[in-house]
């Protein structure tokens, strides 16, 4: 079902933030870091849900670095 991954990620992240913030008082800098990481993780899960694609990065690596290695070994 579409979006099931994002829902699971959201639930996990909410539990994580509640748990981590109750554990001990963090400095403002550290709180921003924690929320930032959680936001990045959730954004990436949304990208997966909406079938985003960063495949061009690995594709370019395969064509350049991988292509050279392939020339050598085959």
């Amino acid at each position: 079902m579409m979006g099931s991954g994002s829902v699971v990620v959201a639930v996990v992240l909410v539990f994580y933030i509640i748990h981590i913030m109750r554990a001990k008082p963090y400095t403002r800098k550290k709180r921003i870091l924690i929320y930032g990481f959680a936001l990045v993780a959730f954004s990436l899960s949304l990208m997966v849900t909406f079938q985003g694609n960063l495949g061009f990065i690995v594709h370019a690596m395969n064509k350049t670095i991988g292509g050279m290695v392939r020339l050598v070994v085959t």
Binding site: V12, I20, A41, G55, V58, H59, G66, V73, T74
Partner: protein, 354 residues
């Protein structure tokens, strides 16, 4: 460093790290390059990696003194570069391994389950284990790798009726040395992942035994890989190994002990997957350790979103299974090797100026 592991645990961590990853589909690439002689390649991998570890860790006397200073106190520029290179290498390893495992499960075990759900479920297990710390990872690895090693050692007997010795011929051909050398290039970047021991030097109970334990781990992993590769060639033949995406799985499907033990391959896969999960947990632990500058303070604060983000990236970065395989076989040979040599050089540089 509060967490301590023994030399036996380091041996098991190293062996599990280099064996379980190579098991998925690397044999295909090795067979493609060196054919029926692909089972000779791990011997070269062992010699090269053994020499690399010996050069890096050097003499027993200086190592305990150095381990107390390495990544302790204020970071030098070399140490910062070491941590950045380390984090990039093991983040790439994590992405490659998670996608490899998820693709395997999606192809062989759960073809109708969405790949993102499989990834998240795997990540939750990985994060749980990684956040428990190095000692727990080492203990869990010892259990799972022990069972996996026993199964691999018993495999030749289970496949005895399927072995065709003719598949090994011709043993030496004119292109034997170039072929084995090319395959070694592919394998070395995978075996070189054992370089993770450098960051764990400070976690050893007896630092002077680190080198020996690491070499023993590489030896154990390579010995098991020789068994798997030789069996693959003997049972399936080179042509099938070259064409199969998951030759190890195809090989264990050939086990035919009795009529009622039909799906013994599933039992073996359920032993391999936990061993592989412990390997990926160690990957995540190492990345987290680098991001927290090698210290143990507040180590688990970002491990959950970090694991999830990397898991999602493993889906986003590889368009399909073919791109992942191409990355693992060819791109990784240069990418991994480059970072491993860089990390080794930085470590040597840091040792020299201690």
């Amino acid at each position: 460093m509060s967490e301590k592991i023994g030399s036996y645990q380091l041996t098991v961590l190293v062996a599990n790290f280099i064996f379980t990853g190579t098991l998925i589909s690397l044999p295909q690439s090795l067979a493609e390059v060196s054919g029926q002689n692909s089972w000779h390649v791990p011997f070269v991998g062992f010699l090269l990696m053994g020499a690399f570890i010996t050069v890096l860790l050097g003499g027993k006397r200086q190592l305990p003194k150095f381990s107390r200073k390495f990544l302790a106190g204020k970071r030098s520029i070399v140490e910062k570069m070491f941590l950045v290179a380390f984090a990039i290498l093991f983040a790439s390893t994590f992405l490659r391994d998670v996608r490899g495992m998820v693709d395997f499960i999606a192809t062989v075990l759960l073809p109708t389950t969405p790949i993102d759900v499989l990834t998240i479920l795997a990540i939750l297990m990985i994060v749980y284990l990684a956040s428990a710390g190095l000692e727990v990872i080492a203990r869990v690895t010892a259990i799972h790798f022990g069972v996996l090693a026993i199964i691999i050692l018993v495999l030749p007997f289970m496949l005895l009726n399927e072995i065709n010795m003719g598949n090994f011929q011709p043993i030496f051909s004119q292109t034997y040395i170039p072929d084995v050398a090319k395959s070694s290039l592919i394998l070395f970047s995978w075996v070189g992942e054992a370089i993770f021991i450098l960051i764990l030097v400070g976690n050893m109970e007896d630092v002077s035994k680190t080198r020996r334990a690491a070499v023993q781990g590489v030896g154990t992993g390579m010995f098991l890989l020789v068994i798997v590769l030789a069996l693959m060639v003997a049972v399936l033949g080179v042509d099938i190994v070259k064409a199969s995406s998951y030759p190890s799985h195809q090989m264990i499907q050939q086990i035919n002990l009795t009529d009622f033990l039909d799906r013994l391959d599933l039992v073996i896969v359920t032993v391999w997957i936990p061993a592989f999960i412990t390997k990926i947990s160690l990957d995540l632990y190492l990345i987290n350790r680098c991001l927290t500058s090698g210290r143990n303070q507040d180590a688990n604060v970002i491990i959950v979103p970090l694991g999830i983000a990397l898991g999602m990236l493993s889906i986003l970065l590889f368009r399909n299974n073919m791109e992942h395989l191409q990355f693992s076989f060819y791109t990784w040979a240069a990418w991994g090797l480059g970072f491993e040599l860089l990390i080794g050089s930085l470590f040597l540089l840091r040792r020299k100026f201690t």
